[in-house]
């Protein structure tokens, strides 16, 4: 099965019933597959006029209780930024799949990159925290899409599935489980103000059509949802809550795979470069080479670094100029070696072996 199709299948398994999209290479297959499958499942597929509208439509649909998603690539992702900020501010659960391609601008439509890792974290204006998942196989494309929906509904945020062209267009055999986990949205308790947070800082969801009469605005709002844009204290409270609801759960939701925790040389990867590193470890079975594979890059799991107490150096191969390596560097005193790569090719296992000091 192709990665993009696996993503669409994962979404359907997770109960996605609304897809608003716009064609863009290399993510189009997700939309195409949803266009075939959704109507049969009583869902709605709509091709919007641009990515701004796609993002807008899924936010609108999400407020009616739908599990909504869209899929795009770099240029479309840039267009979505405005409404992603809106989804953050209004706490709208939705899933944005970004099959990354070479940038800036139109760049390389059919080649892989991971150049949007910082954009998904900091792309929209203002301060917020984001959740970004990075699959490195077709199987994970399926699993992490399901997970993205559950995280989105739990934290009421837009969740990003940051795959790349290699994973999106790769074909692999996958195992589709009979049943997937489903964490439903917590509805708003009667008599509670629509934006009054519960203990986990997430308010209950006042779905449209249930008689809550909620006013949803991108302006700074109080717990009633009414705009109150000139109150400094209220704004700070609101933004800190939006930030902390994810940051406080950072350890709990972290998702990574640790290989050889007592190694001195440790590779840190996410997305497709993980595959090259797995080849290196496979080839150099005798030597201790560690591997920290992040399935969730944001919020950044800095506590994962402590899983490698003997680490003497971290090698971070990335399909960009070190976007996540820089973040990693902030959290450790151990030397970090960046292995940036642009152009769309994956790191060859041979290059990585050389860096790790393993005989090729």
């Amino acid at each position: 099965m192709q990665g993009n199709i696996a993503c669409a299948e994962g979404a359907l398994a997770a109960g996605c019933n609304f897809f608003g999209g716009y064609p863009i290479t290399p993510s189009t297959e997700v939309a195409e597959h949803m266009a075939i499958k959704l109507p049969k499942k009583n869902g709605t597929f709509i091709q919007m006029e641009d990515e701004i509208a796609s993002m807008a439509s899924i936010i609108g649909a999400s407020w009616t209780g739908a599990r909504a998603m869209t899929a795009t690539s770099g240029p479309g992702f840039s267009l979505m930024m405005e409404n992603i900020g809106y989804a953050v501010m209004t706490e709208t659960p939705c899933v944005v799949v970004n099959i990354q391609r070479g940038g800036p601008s139109t760049g390389q439509p059919t080649m892989a990159a991971a150049g949007d890792m910082m954009q998904c974290r900091f792309g929209s204006h203002g301060d917020y925290s984001a959740i970004a998942l990075c699959p490195s196989s077709v199987q994970e494309m399926y699993e992490l899409t399901v997970k993205a929906f559950n995280l989105a509904d739990r934290f009421r945020v837009p969740v990003f599935l940051m795959a790349d062209e290699i994973i999106g267009h790769m074909r692999e055999r996958i195992i589709i489980p009979d049943k997937v986990e489903h964490i439903p949205r917590r509805p708003l308790a009667p008599g509670v103000l629509p934006f009054h947070p519960e203990d986990d800082l997430v308010p209950g969801f006042p779905e449209f059509g249930k008689g809550f009469g909620v006013h949803v605005t991108g302006l700074t709002h109080d717990e009633r949802g009414y705009p109150c844009a000139t109150n400094p204290k209220l704004h700070e409270q609101l933004v800190m809550r939006l930030y902390n609801k994810i940051e406080h759960a950072r350890k709990e939701i972290a998702d990574y795979v640790v290989t050889n925790p007592d190694a001195e040389t440790v590779f840190v990867t996410y997305g497709s470069p993980a595959r090259s590193v797995e080849q290196v470890i496979h080839d150099a079975a005798g030597e201790k080479i560690g591997h920290l594979r992040l399935k969730m890059v944001w919020p950044f799991p800095e506590h994962a670094i402590a899983e490698f107490p003997n680490a003497a150096r971290f090698i971070i191969p990335e399909l960009n100029l070190g976007q996540v390596a820089r973040e990693f560097d902030r959290h450790t005193r151990v030397p970090v070696i960046q292995v940036p790569k642009l152009g769309g090719d994956l790191h060859l296992p041979a290059e990585l072996k050389k860096l790790a000091g393993v005989a090729a």
């Binding site: 709605t44 919007m48 807008a56 609108g60 059509g209 009469g213």
Partner: protein, 262 residues
């Protein structure tokens, strides 16, 4: 019930300047909705950014105050996900015709079953009176200090060309007619576009020699011409005075519609 019951009483009075026509348009819309017997929980108001777009905040139903120009795609999402909902979009001229122009023509093309009410004050009111795509040639604004040089959009003709099922234009003076037009728009399946020309005394009037609010309303009244009369003029080849506001029902047709309950 009356239109008063649709207001969030705890939020009134609203933020509009004294003499602003937007309040009138909200009254007319709510009166029409009241006559439609829609349920509050099945009605959703959507808006973008601008003076007009603050309107849903004063209405008791579920409402979505979105990003600049994007009200129509948000409304499309809501209507497609829940076709049973009644979706009404409040928008302004800058919101709809400038930043949201693309969304507007596509919503008309899809002919999605929503009602769009555009409060056209010919200026960007909330940001302090900048020229908009509907500012008439020669009109003064903060960004057209020597008179607007660009031709203005005719939003109704645009909506017709793009495929809306119902198109009408009235002004804030014609409250009864506007209420009726909004009601007919809501009854008509497909996209109904009602342009309401409103006065903006603070930003438009002050710069363009309307000393009093009433002067501007009087201008709207005296420069209005019913569409039937306008067409007669056109047929006879008689010249129509400049700055005529053509009012009335422009079109009511039955193009295929999206977003109807299955």
């Amino acid at each position: 019930m009356s239109y008063e019951d649709w207001f969030r009483q705890d939020r009134l009075p609203h933020i509009y300047c004294a003499g602003c026509g937007n309040g009138t348009i909200i009254n007319c819309t709510l009166e029409a909705i009241d006559e439609m017997d829609w349920k509050k929980e099945e009605t959703v108001f959507v808006s973008g950014i601008g003076c007009s777009s603050r309107a849903p905040g004063y209405i008791v139903t579920d409402s979505l105050h979105t990003t600049h120009g994007r009200a129509l795609p948000f409304a499309t999402g809501i209507k497609m996900a829940k076709p049973g909902f009644h979706v009404v979009v409040f928008t302004g001229d800058g919101d709809l015709a400038a930043i949201g122009g693309n969304h507007f023509i596509h919503a008309c093309r899809r002919n999605i079953d929503i009602t769009v009410i555009c409060m056209n004050n010919q200026i960007y009111g909330m940001t302090g009176g900048q020229g908009s795509p509907t500012t008439p040639v020669g009109a003064l604004s903060t960004t057209t200090p020597f008179g607007s040089a660009e031709p203005a959009f005719d939003l109704c003709e645009l909506a017709i060309a793009a495929g809306a099922n119902y198109v009408a234009r009235w002004t804030s003076y014609h409250v009864k007619e506007l209420t009726k037009a909004v009601k007919v728009g809501m009854e008509t399946p497909g996209l109904s576009f009602i342009e309401a020309r409103v006065q903006c005394p603070t930003n438009y009037g002050r710069k363009n020699k309307f000393k009093q609010v009433l002067d501007q309303v009087e201008y709207l009244r005296s420069h209005s011409m019913l569409r039937q009369k306008y067409l007669q003029h056109e047929e006879r080849g008689e010249p129509v005075p400049d700055a005529t506001i053509v009012i009335g029902e422009f079109i009511k047709r039955g193009r295929p519609v999206m977003g109807l309950p299955r």
